[in-house]
Amino acid sequence: MTAAAPLRVAVIGSGPAAMYTVEHLLAASANLSIDVFERLFAPYGLVRYGVAPDHQKIKGVTRAFEPLLHDPRVRLFAAVDVGRDLALDDLARRCHAVVAAAGARADRRMGVPGEDLPGSLPATAFVAWYNGHPDFTGLAIDLQRESAVVVGVGNVAIDVARILVLTPDELRRTDMPAYAIEALEASRIREVHILGRRGPAQAAFTAPELKELTTLAGAALRIDPAEAALDPASAAEVERSPDRTLARKVQLIQEIAAAPVPCRPRTIHLRFCVSPLELLPGPDGAVAAVRAVRNRLVASPAGGIAAEPTGEEETILAGLVFRSVGYRGLPIPGLPFDERLGVIPNRAGRVIDPASGAPLPGRYVAGWLKRGPTGVIGTNKPDAAETVRCLLEDADAGCLPAPADPDPASVEALLRARGVQWLDCSDWQRIDELERAAGAREGRPRVKFTSLAAVLEALGRAAPAP
């Protein structure tokens, strides 16, 4: 009897969703071979390029992912973009199943006039810049302004505000690239206003992240007690919510609002029930202020609480505006895309034809590209488990298309033929060691490479022909 050929699975992306997909696949079956394709030279997605550089413990979750990439059944193809270097069909020819776990790297817009003025940028770009994302090292950001506005009240908005006010001492303990540390050290920002459309009970940030803003060496957190008070509908919502962390968060907001504001060189103003209406330019053409309106909260028909403008306006001076109103997935050529939700249309992780609703055999999706850009790192674990369950059910049922070219060596052959210079797991291990060693010399967690060219040089490889 001949052994059955291994199940070949291609995973697009190497963030948490991809890594949990790999983990669940490996745990479920011994006879498989997984190829992970990552467009950047380094794996782990937003853990490396999103999670704040002063939150090294959270970045440390990659320790749980590392052994997966070293498993003999797994191969990493880093610096390979599916869509640019390989087509989806190239993967489908070589694998029984393709799992798209490419995340959500575009940003949502506020939809207000002036959004595209110089000085107004998506939080996505700023976050990528301070994390040394190779696509964002050249971001134009003028930190010589004195006031900034962050629109949105999720944890990303809190990250952005906090990073803007870190002291040189705090900055030097991070793995931020030197260009970002230098720019932030020289920053003249004094005031940061975080604007929430709705009230304290609807804010998406979590309590520990808020509390951290009260412990910063160089900045004080100020909340207006009137804005921290709950309207009756929100109070009822908090009261009946089984999630006690909500009540705790509201209590924390009110405690901060009631406490005296410590004297620090910089101030973060956390605002509620305020929406931007328009970004106003200064004489140099760059954004200079935000015209905003105060909202009242009204119960929406289905039980939610919505913001409704009161007409009462104010102008907030702001030389920088960061919109942190959400991320959006980008389509992967060859797979359908739902523009409204910004995800690949799917049922429990099986990619479906949007017109007929029928599953597309052998196509799966996991993570932010599956359910939208919400949830913490761990949310991707049950999410990926669901996708893998569908995939393995389909494999058992014989529903996966047989690949024309299942020989694993054919992937390398194709990349070579196309002149794609990819990095494998041992390359990544070497990069990781070099980054950590460079960090150790400066008393920092690591010093990141920020370009593929520099990585290839450090590995003693020639850069691919342009």
Partner: protein, 150 residues
Amino acid sequence: MKLAEVLATKGTGVACIAADAPVSAAIAELAARNIGALVALDAAGAVAGILSERDIVRALAAGRPLDRLAVADLMTPGVICGRLDDDLEAVLAAMTDGHFRHLPVVDGSTLVGLVTTADLAQALLRSLAGRLVTLELRLEAEIDESGVGR
């Protein structure tokens, strides 16, 4: 978490039926799709009501002549619709309090999906499980760092 996230993994499309269609057509549709409710649309394509299996059971129990009735005769009219950015927990609480199990979801005036209390409960469970995994990861990182257990 918003309703958009619940819809994202449910697949597109909502099972709909014209409000003036015969109830027999609705029953056939419910059976064929193995679902519990249909969204009834008026002639303009707007949401007119919801016809659930309960409405049909109730009519049967009352001895009403199903073969001579239209969807509009049995459906619950004037249904509440959710919006893509409504918060899951608040909606789930409202559905539980109001004893309705199906909620059409609209984007502006376009019907984009239908969620059930079971969908919402499952999504909530997944979100809580995710928070738990993250807390565990952080705890493990703390333990690694402090050297406890070594």
